[in-house]
Amino acid sequence: MAGKEWRQARWEEPLVNEYQGRRGGYTIPHGWEDEELARIVGEPWDRLGGLSRGEAPQLPGLSEIELVRHYTRLAHMSYGVDNGPVPLGSCTMKYNPRVSEELASDPRVALLHPLQDEDTVQGLLEILWRLERWLAEITGMDRCSLQPPAGAAGELTGALMIRKYHLDRGEERDEMLVPDSAHGTNPASAAMAGFRVVKIPSNSRGTVDLEALRAALSERTAGIMLTNPNTLGLFEDEILEIARLVHDAGGLLYYDGANLNGIMGIVRPGDMGFDIVHLNVHKTFASPHGGGGPGAGVVCAKGALVDYLPRPLIERRGDRFYWDYSCERCIGRIRAFYGNIAPLLKAYVYIASLSGVGLREAALQATVNTNYFIALMRGVEGYELPYDPERPRKHEVVYSAKPLHRETGVTAGDVAKALLDRGLHAPTIYFPLIVDEALMIEFTDSETPENIEAYAEALREIAEQARRSPEEVKKAPRNTSVARVDEVYANHPRTVTPSYRVHALRAKGLLR
């Protein structure tokens, strides 16, 4: 349990590169046959000539026990949802059900080759076909592509679809509107698709400024990328007017699904007027984040935009399921094969387990958890709730540690490190950019009320400590595997070390 006595393991674990062995514990599956085979077909090095590398690669080899111990120690020095609360805003760090893990690793999925015949994978194709229907129903869209491997890849997909849609209509629309509160991926994806990004400011209520939107719309507008609820956790209550304005100007609406968790099963992006939607399966549908991935970024489309989805799409004829490669207007292919199947299967298990009513209840609880936390934070000094504090938040809430900073010099970053010392993962900090000293907190439906209470209490204690002795807070963390990391050293041109090879070459003076 998290608390003042919490301590993280502090192993002095060597890098694998520092292990001495050169032959690890891997057993070649039918290796005993190799000498006989070599007598029949000869040795590779006799045939490869100048291609041959000569000696074996310089890689460390660990026995099985060394390998497992190495990673067990590294695991002790890591922290995920299984360890405690990870209320990173906009990341939707839900519990990852064990049954989903079990079923996604079933050999009847895990051992399937992507190019084996369709008549040998009918069961999996049926699952994918059904999953697509479910996701279309949840978003209020017509069809979905399961191909994009992550949310950002979904955004690129959507931006390319918007681009091609306008080109096919003979219109040169090269501007993508993005609110100033948007996730960084939105402008980055729009730029990758070749758009000029036009920033739309938020109004004093924290939502899209309609006047600024009207002023920005023109015959150059390709569309707008929005997340709703936005990154402040506020529902864009003028969404129907936004949709009307953008559509009247000839633009399209793209929905960033990263923030769906508080409204899933209650409100649908399709009904709000969005034309394209991406879903973060690894957020909303509880597949794990894996320390950074893999995820899955399903993209759904409505009406005329369906033709632009990447191919292949999954189809059904009678009781047969198959991939349809026909592509008249489609943007092409966003990755090889069909998508990140394992996370998709976990989403299937999650949706099948909860059904519509359960998804809705989960979304409601996510919102209850956010607002319960806000209620607990009332009267806690040092933090303020910017933008319309009386309005309920949905999946997440953003506090500002500006008052604390002004009073004590302790920053949002310091607060984050002090939370770590109590065994609580920090929130997303310094985002969205429109909030100073931002602490962006999302408990999701998974977190227990007891941990939400502990989190509010920890923030209160940290503020008190900051007033008492700010330098103590600035020394945090102390209970984690290492103390505060030296970011300057990490990034300085003379010391930056992106691999052990760089470290070794620099030590020998061989690095230019």
């Binding site: 514990g25 020095m77 299984d82 999925v109 960084g184 199947i341 209850v368 505060r484 930056v496 992106p498």
Partner: protein
């Protein structure tokens, strides 16, 4: 509300919802949605799932019933090529990536509490750097195809040029992905044909396409057909015109052949699936992305990068570095939009490589080389032209059958064998098939493939 616990297992707060709402100061949960236009609120929950919640045991039964309609090829494993092959996944590697501390962690934005995860990713970068002999490796891209597209985009930024020359030996789906990803950037993509005799990119075709507007030359070695290319010659051509050389490589082959860093590659990308990821019907994969030490390249590198540093007390520590390239800082000026990547697969790959060691990798690559060559020999003994190209190959090879391959393939399937990949799929000669033979195929598996092919050929000749 839920008599059998379907909800409270994953949503524990429901048991205290009433009390929480009181504290919030509302009497009904829907009051928290009072700002949502009423016409948008769904009158009832969406119709998804199986009409009602399912218990763990029920969902297991449902999946069991559907999945029983799949056919798993375990003995022998599929012989299907196409840049994705069956490989042994050691139990220890699987166990490591199932550990909850890695599995359920987020991107390690808070370095101090995730040193283990950061070290594991730094080790991945370091192992790939030593394998490729290129110094800088990012913490992963999505897969081989998108890593190739990102390499092209990076080369365009570095050189400020728009032309990309691609070898005809590149995987056809990678080429499709490249065309998709580059369509917003006004890129000109030209394909250099391969020589039908050797199976390698024609030097003349390549030289005639590369010029002063070329940002990148992309060569896959081994290529889609399994054949090693002359990467050094392609690199010379590229560098003569100021273009970057991008090599798409196969990670296990580096146990035998010279690494991209010794062949003049500026960027090397790969599908990391062979490194302990398993098949999983094509995903997740692992986009390996390595570049040589050059500040001009480092500045334009896409994706996340982990660096070694120290903590406030002088201990060795790890953290995400050079983040000013990334979308959450640089927004529309970022080097890529990528954020979620394939970190867990990178850890699998690192564990896999460490479990092999350099010597083990060499032995494994030799085993794969021997088995694929033995299979080609056995097929040619049965009247199949295998391989059809004279260039040296690894793991995958292209075979030409006397009759359309699909008919042979159906006969193999009737005998419990998932055969090669019919290249008709990519618009090629219907008699061609791409086979993949790895360490998972025993000599007996290969012999049974050969005898099944012999029988199938007899039947297809007879049946016409």
């Amino acid at each position: 509300m839920e008599p059998w616990g379907y909800l409270s297992r994953w949503v524990p707060g429901v048991t205290r919802r009433k009390e929480m709402l009181e504290r919030i100061g509302v009497s009904d949960v829907m009051e928290l949605y009072s700002d949502v236009p009423r016409e948008l609120i769904l009158p009832e929950p969406p119709r998804v799932g199986y009409g009602r919640p399912l218990s763990e045991e029920e969902v297991r039964r449902v999946l069991d019933e559907v999945l029983s309609r799949n056919t798993v090829y375990r003995a022998p494993p599929p012989f299907t090529g196409g840049g994705w092959c069956p490989h042994h996944v050691p139990a220890a590697v699987r166990y490591i990536v199932e550990r909850g501390e890695f599995l359920t962690a987020y991107t390690p934005y808070q370095a101090e509490i995730n040193q283990g995860l950061l070290q594991a990713l730094f080790e991945y970068q370091s192992l790939i750097a030593d394998l490729t002999e290129l110094e800088v490796v990012n913490a992963s891209m999505y897969d081989g195809s998108t890593a190739t597209a990102e390499a092209a985009l990076m080369a365009m930024r570095v050189t400020r040029r728009r032309k990309v020359v691609v070898s005809g030996g590149l995987h056809p789906e990678y080429l499709e992905v490249l065309r998709t990803w580059l369509q917003g950037k006004g890129a000109e993509i030209r394909v250099a044909d391969i020589d039908v005799e050797s199976g390698v990119t024609s030097t003349e075709a390549l030289s005639s396409l590369v010029d002063g507007n070329t940002a990148a030359v992309i060569v896959s070695s081994p290529n889609f057909y399994g054949v090693f290319e002359d990467v050094e010659a392609a690199a010379d051509t590229a560098h003569k015109h100021g273009a970057l050389l991008v090599q798409v490589f196969e990670p296990l082959s580096l146990g035998l052949v010279k690494p991209p860093g010794r062949l003049g590659a500026d960027i090397a990308v790969a599908e990391g699936q062979p490194l302990g990821l398993g098949l999983n019907y094509g995903g997740p994969g692992l986009g390996v992305f390595a570049v040589r030490w050059d500040r001009r390249l480092l500045r334009q590198l896409p994706g996340r990068l982990i660096g070694m540093t120290r903590d406030a007390e002088g201990r060795r520590a790890f953290t995400m570095i050079l983040q000013a390239r990334e979308q959450h800082i640089r927004r529309e000026k970022a080097t890529s939009n990528i954020t979620t990547n394939e970190a867990l697969m990178a850890i699998a790959a690192a564990a896999y490589l460490s479990f092999l060691g350099g010597e083990g990798l060499r032995e494994l690559a030799r085993s794969i080389w021997l088995r694929s060559h033995y299979a080609a020999r056995r097929l040619s003994e049965e009247g199949v032209e295998a391989p059809i190209f004279s260039g040296e190959f690894f793991k995958e090879f292209t075979a030409r059958f006397p009759a359309p391959y699909r008919r042979v393939h159906e006969e193999l399937k009737r005998r419990g064998i998932m055969g090669g990949l019919a290249l008709e799929r990519y618009g090629m000669d219907p008699r061609l098939a791409l086979f993949c033979v790895t360490e998972l195929h025993s000599k007996r598996d290969i012999d049974s493939l050969a005898s099944a092919v012999a029988e199938a050929l007899k039947i297809t000749e007879r049946g016409g």
